[in-house]
Amino acid sequence: MSRTREGAGVPVPLLVPAALGVAFLVLPLLGLLVRTPWSELAGQLAEPAVGEALRLSLVSATLATALSLVLGVPLAWVLARSRARGRSVLRALVTVPLVLPPVVGGVALFLVLGRQGIVGSWLDDAFGITIPFTTAAVVIAETFVAMPFLVISVEGALRAADTRFEDVAATLGAGRWTTFRRVTLPLVAPGVAAGAVLCWARALGEFGATITFAGNFPGTTQTMPLAVYLALQRDPDAAIVLSVVLLAVSLATLLLLRDRWLGRTGAA
């Protein structure tokens, strides 16, 4: 009840731009649905190339999220809790990929991990490992672009969390690692989950760094966004179908995870 009354009280100067904002964000998605050749949908979906690209997208985005969790949660802890100097510089550096055009990220990855790159040439000489044009390169490109989303979310959750629980755990004799594992992590779990979802969604949509650094090969490096981009050059209807599939997968995942994991943040 009280909520409806609040809604009615939205000032017009806020209501009009807000409504325009909604239209701006939702209309392109509606346009996609209106133009979808539904009769061709089944045929397009049966194409093995579509399944291949979708599977690769889901697998690589999930691996990129796992890698981001392993590296990003500790990094967020360092940013939120450590008192080391230069922390703000560190934070700025870590968030650069957020504002960097992903293509630039792809070029940078090439210069470091490519066959002629600083680290890549050593990997090639010492172990015979080359990264570009492999699924590993897709995961690396996606992690580079998506991990900052996770770090920022988890750092925010850590800052908002009540540190008195950690202090109490310490006075009860828990070491810092035990405190992190048993107290801090459960406390910020919703923040970690939200960050992981953001990270996964960003990784799923990654295009620029992937096509630049990982290349484009069906089954190995051609993820859904790349398939959409190239399909648009020859067969726009196929591109629309692929886009709708990607849209459905993203929406389904976000809704599913929101109910299961993020419900608590909504209620808080």
Partner: protein, 264 residues
């Protein structure tokens, strides 16, 4: 922090929202072309058309020439979707036919031809054997191992040609990545990230010393012919016609020949 990132993202998005053809031209007092001339050209034309565009601006001081280079099929899709271009120069006839089917082009003229070469990094390449000098080798003679190879995606003209020659040579499963246009293939070879790439003769001319290139016999099966046309509804049709005439003129043909293109 996040708000600031979003703000930056929004500003970046807004900065990209400029209309490439806001002002069409009209006849100037002296009969020269004026306004903005928007040219959509295949990626392989980047060096020649940049030069011809500059020449055009010299001859018509009140004209501003803007050229968008990309894979021909990406450009054709943009045109079919209503992008306002005055001239479209495609790397094959298939993409021009898409515009003809859409009723956007009635008369296209051929102005150049191009064929593929095998490009390798100048400082060595695994899996590729240099020709012995006796006649033109086949692709099979050159690709002796399993090189990391980049070719164009089958969606773009150079990729269609690449698929044809690879099939003819029985090497269809050699490529490791399908780039979105021919200049991306060339970049990968120049960077040394691949051992070999299939690019046009004209790209090899542009690459200089970083790249070695070998001609091969199968390339004769897939010669791309380049058509050029003024789409209907071109905002600056007069300047467009002048540009097409320049490309077809002796001077334009000489510039194309210098860049490694053949006559159609």
């Amino acid at each position: 922090m996040r708000t600031r990132a979003l703000l930056v993202a929004a500003l970046l998005a807004l900065a990209g929202c400029t209309d490439p053809a806001q002002d069409g031209g009209g006849p100037a007092a002296d009969g020269g072309a004026t306004g903005t001339l928007t040219v959509f050209a295949a990626a392989s034309l980047i060096d020649v058309f940049t030069e011809l565009g500059a020449r055009m601006e010299e001859e018509h001081p009140e004209l501003d020439v803007r050229i968008s280079y990309s894979g021909s099929s990406a450009l054709a899709t943009q045109l079919v979707q209503g992008a306002p271009a005055d001239v479209f120069a495609s790397a094959d006839e298939t993409q021009m036919a898409r515009l003809e089917d859409a009723g956007l082009v009635t008369r296209a003229e051929l102005f150049a031809a191009n064929r593929l070469m095998l490009a390798v990094p100048a400082d060595g390449s695994a899996g590729v054997t240099a020709p012995d000098g006796a006649g033109i080798p086949s692709l099979r003679d050159l690709v002796t191992g399993d090189p990391t190879m980049a070719v164009c995606a089958p969606e773009v003209p150079c990729g269609e040609a690449a698929a044809q020659v690879l099939r003819a040579a029985g090497l269809a499963d050699v490529p490791d990545t399908y780039a979105e246009d021919v200049r991306s293939v060339l970049s990968l070879v120049e960077l040394g990230e691949v051992d070999a790439g299939l690019v046009y003769v004209s790209d090899v001319h542009a690459a200089g010393d970083a790249v070695l290139a070998y001609a091969f016999s199968e390339s004769a099966r897939a010669v791309n012919r380049y058509p050029i046309a003024v789409p209907s509804g071109a905002p600056n049709a007069e300047a467009a016609r002048a540009f097409v005439d320049l490309v077809l003129s002796d001077a334009g043909q000489a510039a194309l020949a210098d860049a490694g293109f053949q006559r159609p």
